[in-house]
Subunit: 92 residues, 2 copies
């Protein structure tokens, strides 16, 4: 649950989430080109692939494989209970 903070610490991973928010269900190559274009990110395909692995490991991304394509979908569920940890603290 606290791995989500580590996942969100990398600027490249936040850019990936931005991209998937703008257009969900992209493949790896789509993300590579669009991140280079719109976000001024000059990253290798493998770099982005590793970032996607991290995001998927913490549940921020779901994937579906179809043939040789692998689509990536953002999942914002883990984001909801994150900040509420310090904001609405209903403690004693």
């Amino acid at each position: 649950m606290s791995d989500i903070f580590e996942a969100l610490s990398a600027p490249a991973r936040r850019a990936i989430l931005d991209e998937l928010t703008d257009r969900d269900g992209q493949t790896l190559f789509e993300l590579c080109t669009r991140l280079t274009m719109k976000h001024n990110l000059a990253l290798t395909r493998q770099a982005i692939s590793q970032h996607l692995d991290v995001l998927e490991a913490v549940g921020l991304i779901r994937t579906s494989r179809e043939g040789r394509y692998k689509y990536h979908f953002i999942d914002t569920k883990p984001l909801h209970q994150i900040v509420s940890r310090w904001i609405d603290s209903p403690k004693k």
Copy 2:
């Protein structure tokens, strides 16, 4: 604004915010002892001091100096617009 994610990536800094949520306005030494006790964190005074500097730099902590004491207060304002970046995306 995106430095907040880097600030929140360190577990020690999240523990500090937890401690200040539990009891606001602590001094450096108070935080040291209580972090060691309740959070099983064995950190040096300087380590915690550096974490406090980071948290203050991104606006998650405000401080007030009185004599030789420096009190630390949590400020949750920067936390509000963080997650909304991907959750309620009112895009095109």
